[in-house]
Symmetry: C2
Subunit: 460 residues, 2 copies
């Protein structure tokens, strides 16, 4: 009886994973190579050296199954990890479903989302190689906040290029980063060549993630003592997030249960991957099956409507070419509130899994995600980030499907962050100001027309 009421499965600090899990070790087919934007040939570690420390470049291409987590990183994780695995008993009761709904809550991170898992690791590895300054970009602000906190922790300087429209609309996200000691600049800025060029054309440019990336990359590439840091997409970022799923595996042991379905919101892919990869690894090694569903907004339907093709990671075409599901690097998604999911591409590793049929993907409408988020807040207490609401919405749909069929499935999702800095979105939702969006075919086709010619060469 007492056991039936358990809400949170908590692990002691010494159960923080000792190694990241690297899915590359268990993939049935290796990832396609990353190509040089100029030559179209596979790139090597040296091509990335101006931007990243060697330890992270090594992780990017590693096929070792376990990559040890350095003790200073584990020590910083102790600030908030292990995060709880929570049985959503309030939500289950409200839905009157036989489904067992679990969520891992990464909003316990002081910066408010799962992003600190990789921010701490990236800051550490850079610091180890003597780097004292990191540059990065941020849109919605979750990533910038996480890196600002991590840099404060390791005594590093953090320079954040924040999309100008967000810089103006979200002064509290900026205030948080500045409280952590970071310097935050509205992008486009006059601090970089890329920024000045944009401003010369349009002094009132609202900016974009693409421009901000260009500025942050330029700063790192042009200064010896600065490296660049990215909050999603890359293999090493996904790798760091696997602490989420590794902890969840132990917590399901405590609960004497196992998920039938894992649901995850996907923008760049690191949130979904962090939870799913350790479970996928078990499946690929023949240990235990699980279904996986990546959830994206209809306003940025990368996995569900974008082809699997080589494309640039940024609008300005400064990055290498990676094979991924993409809507084209020139695609600019409409301004939904889930800013963290507004990325034209998708992590190559996640794209690869979809291509191999190992995971499924679905797109959901904005209004459904907020309706789910409100129901979640009223039954579970936590008000989710708009990004996380995408997972909540699908978890609810699946739980209601269980109610219809009478099945008692275990559904797991990662509640990647809280919505404390996104309350305006909830206010707009309640005021009836939010809308749904479905791109017409022509619009998608137009964006895809700009895909690089390398795809013709290598046969896509």
């Amino acid at each position: 009886m007492a056991e039936k009421k358990t809400r949170k499965y908590m692990l002691p600090e010494d159960q923080i994973p000792e190694a990241f899990y690297n899915l590359a070790a268990d993939l049935p087919v290796a990832l396609p190579p990353v190509l040089h934007p100029g030559t179209g040939m596979p790139i090597g570690p040296d091509d990335l050296a101006p931007l990243f420390p060697m330890a992270l470049i090594a992780q990017e291409v590693s096929t070792e199954r376990e990559i040890e987590i350095p003790e200073p990183v584990r020590d910083a994780y102790r600030m908030y990890r292990p995060s709880p695995l929570i049985r959503a008993r309030g939500l289950e009761r409200a839905l009157d479903t036989p489904a067992r709904i679990y969520y891992k809550y990464e909003g316990v991170s002081p910066a408010g989302s799962h992003k600190t898992n990789t921010a701490i690791a990236q800051a550490f590895y850079n610091r180890e190689e003597g780097i004292r300054r990191l540059s990065t970009e941020t849109g919605a602000g979750q990533w910038g906040s996480a890196l600002a906190m991590a840099c404060a922790f390791f005594g590093m300087v953090c320079e954040v290029y924040m999309v100008r429209v967000s810089y103006n609309q979200k002064p509290y996200r900026r205030g948080l980063m500045e409280a952590y000691g970071a310097s935050v600049y509205p992008s486009p800025s006059d601090r970089t060549h890329a920024g000045r060029e944009i401003l010369a054309d349009d002094p009132d440019s609202p900016g974009s993630l693409g421009i901000a990336i260009s500025e942050a990359v330029e700063v790192a590439a042009s200064q010896d003592d600065v490296k660049y840091s990215l909050g999603s997409v890359l293999n090493h970022v996904l790798l760091h997030q696997t602490v989420i799923g590794l902890e969840a595996l132990k917590q399901f042991d405590m609960a004497e249960d196992y998920p039938d379905l894992i649901v995850g919101a996907t923008g760049g892919g690191s949130n979904f991957s962090g939870m799913a990869f350790p479970f996928i690894g078990r499946m690929l090694r023949g240990e235990q099956d699980v279904n996986m569903l990546a959830v994206e907004p209809t306003a940025c339907p990368t996995l569900t409507r974008g082809p699997y093709a080589y494309d640039y990671g940024d609008t300005a075409r400064m990055t290498p070419l990676v094979k991924m599901h993409t809507l084209g690097h020139s695609f600019v998604p409409v301004g939904i509130h889930a800013g963290g999911l507004r990325y034209h591409g998708m992590a190559p590793m996640v794209s690869h899994l979809l291509q191999l049929g190992i995971i499924d993907a679905v797109a959901v409408q904005q209004l459904d995600t907020f309706s789910a988020g409100v129901q979640f807040a009223r039954t579970e207490g936590i008000i989710p980030a708009p990004e996380s609401n995408h997972a909540v919405a699908v978890a609810i749909t699946e739980a209601l499907r269980c109610k219809e069929s009478g099945e008692s499935r275990a559904i797991l999702f990662n509640l990647s962050g809280h919505g404390h800095f996104d309350i305006q979105a909830y206010i707009d939702y309640h005021a009836g100001k939010l809308v749904n969006y479905q791109y017409p075919e022509e619009e998608i086709a137009m964006a895809l027309a700009g895909l690089p010619t390398v795809n013709a060469v290598v046969g896509d």
Copy 2:
């Protein structure tokens, strides 16, 4: 070695306390009686019945040491309790102090502060007695958010009168309450006699906590199916908060340590009491000594500069008279950012302890509290609520004193909430817009001149 690195002391869910601790059972001298504002005679339970359910009135006057926590309340606590006890290793390192600094972190509550501990209990006891609607007031918004969440959890309607200036300045706090399903009205409102009277005089009135209390009390007193709910000051509110200290006692057992000094921010008194009372009880029962320091803002120096006298709880003189440290019910503190500490009085129980010499009190300046909060955020990750910064500031001062003397004291404070909804305060701090404040003697004397005549009668 591994043990030395422990940051968080976590209790499993089944260690949520089974009973609240009632300090009244261990007090060497009983509290002075509460007086009827009309007759000046001690009031009885019936006088409070229009406002509160009988269970809470009974708790208000109980001298039983332990008051059982009903299972539905414990179940709701499982959403976020037990809260962690955290060793502030990052802060200790930065201060280079031999002191051991511990903080209990109540910001893990989904509503963001310790206020949910009593909100959940109050909602439950009201619901048990058939009440479906609660009215309350809120200033900074922490209390309103907590009660809104608790009402959502128990399927109740919540009506919040929010000081108009805060209603306009803090739309996100309001948005959070509305997401939980509460109705939030700017006070003064046209929904009550009290509100309409103020508006007739001054249509642009910015409101005050005193006015908002009058509105919320009027709604409860004038409608059979509505009760009133208060977030601090009263004995039963302090009682519910003792879950904080009770958990901390168990966590210090885990840490094989015991606090030499407990520091707590005091506004109405419930945060300080929640942590301190269980430790004070042990001291009063001769089990173990501890020093206790209540911290208040110089901008509202109730304990340090107010006399111990009978006074009203609200500006409009609708409440009973309680004996407390007070600056006079007409005192309006300057607009510091720690809105939760801007109350003219202090919990009778806390005032009584100061009077008996069981606790000490100190006032700190606003700039020192924010400087401490920023240092805390950069070393511990969490950005504290401005109220909590008062405790952080004194903990740092005491830790630096240890550094000077070479003493290794254990310092404990309750980090009552996070500052996610108070980032504007940090922005203002960094912009140099915040100031210190020290009231001239004449100003205090003027406010005190309005103390009720009952003090002359009973000899104060």
